[in-house]
Assembly symmetry: C2
Homo-oligomer: 127 residues x 2
Amino acid sequence: MDRTENTRAAVEKYWASADARDWDAFGALLAEDVVYELPQTRERISGKEKYVQFNREYPGDWRAWTHRIVAEEDGAVSWAKFEVAGESSDAVTFFEVDTDGRITTVTDFWPESYEPPAGREHLVEQY
Amino acid sequence: MDRTENTRAAVEKYWASADARDWDAFGALLAEDVVYELPQTRERISGKEKYVQFNREYPGDWRAWTHRIVAEEDGAVSWAKFEVAGESSDAVTFFEVDTDGRITTVTDFWPESYEPPAGREHLVEQY
């Protein structure tokens, strides 16, 4: 596999191992000094141990799976679907990987539904 | 340029021409049957003419610029910064392009700030 395909595979495994609660497999994808950031809350978690713990402790009987991945050699973005208690949401995540293919940064966005603004009904349809 | 670099350049021009209100350049990047979707509001706009109009009519004295782009041959994702009235926000946008390099789909996410949930203070720092 070339580096781009390795990066894509790492992102696929990231979500599959999280969904399976396979924290050994999940941790094996991460660099020791991985940094996780959530720009919406300005929260940061530093280091593999804490980041695995954060995911292991994340509450709820959630399921997650990848909807779309765009990958380059050094990084990728996933659009994942996340489902808990019958509610579905989207997660968009930017990843950076080192030359060994280990994930060094994870930046998550969790966009929430909102009401369409008025004034553009002449252009849009609802789906 | 190879197709991946063409795709990356199209996304760069997309944001640069929007920021410059250069709607001819913006429209030239789009396929005639481009489809725009906003999953958070479940709004859809179909066709280049309406989609250019939507952007042209978008209210506010906003500025936009790319912060990060991840590109493949057939598509890309941008993380853009959007600023209006001194307020900064993030836009994450998935693009698909056809074999001519024209943009066929644009899917936008506008994640908003929210308060950090309680119960993870032992793992996170604020930035």
